[in-house]
């Protein structure tokens, strides 16, 4: 499973989002690296198809669906609590649901004999890639 957290330094919530991600990974017993990517320029936002900070992707899939018209930009990202309130942080439940879904897909594919996509183990939490 390939997990990425993309962030823009102008939004302070990415540290808390990474903590939540690690917490859920530990809860689920998953010892997996997280590729942490700093998106630093408008060009990088386009290149990474960055919908705002923080963004979490599992096997390339965003954990939260956004309207197709959402622009790529160096901006903070809005999530919703179950009661509809806006928050700059993805909820524990949202992260857990996405990871569980990816796990189920991975098991299904393993049963069918096909891999679930590239696994990049060369980067771990705390690594930063300049998004230029």
């Amino acid at each position: 499973m390939h997990i990425q957290l993309l962030y823009f330094d102008g939004c302070p919530s990415h540290t808390a989002a990474l903590e939540r991600l690690h917490r859920v990974l530990a809860e689920l017993g998953l010892d997996l690296p997280v590729q942490v990517i700093a998106v630093e320029t408008d060009a990088a936002a386009q290149q990474w198809q960055f919908l705002g900070s923080p963004t979490i992707r599992i096997n390339g899939h965003d954990i939260d669906a956004l309207p197709a018209a959402t622009p790529y930009a160096l901006a903070c990202r809005a999530y919703r609590h179950p009661d509809g309130r806006i928050t700059p942080l993805p909820s524990i439940d949202l992260i857990r649901t996405a990871l569980q879904h990816a796990l189920e897909l991975s098991h299904l594919r393993a049963a069918e004999g096909s891999p679930d996509g590239p696994i990049d183990g060369s980067l771990v939490s705390g690594d930063t890639i300049s998004g230029n």
Partner: protein, 177 residues
Amino acid sequence: MALTLGTLAPDFALLGVDGQQHALADFADAAVLVVIFSCNHCPYVQAWEDRMIALQAAYAPRGVQFVAINANDAVKYPADNFDAMCERAARKQFNFPYLHDTTQEVARTYGAQRTPEVFVFDHARTLAYHGAIDDNYDDPAAVSVPYLRQALDALLAGSCPEPAQTAPVGCTIKWRS
């Protein structure tokens, strides 16, 4: 760098979503003036917005006036353009003026860096509190220190806010390049 405590409120004259120009002198009757650098698109603003509205409603009878100013570059962030401001103010039924700082000069003069970022001025219009609205953007029920409410209570009681300064938490203001 943001205004230092004790500084007189810099003047402004900005267009509001009501179609009127609003200047600092228009709020001369307010016992306390709360200037909040805000915007439409930032999720931190959206998370705190209902609390801003509730605080204005609660403190208006005691002479507290809120003013929100959006200085974001509306070219790169169209969700923050004037039409969108009008739409948001109407939808959320803002009970305070929402002004557009198109040149960003007011935000620069105040030294604002984030949205939301609060500047509270006392009756003499000197800066008495600067910083965040409270200490929990994510959950209003989990706020342990309601900084802005405390500052308003202190000023209305004739004393100084404590703390008088906190770190503003939110999106960076989107400056024009």
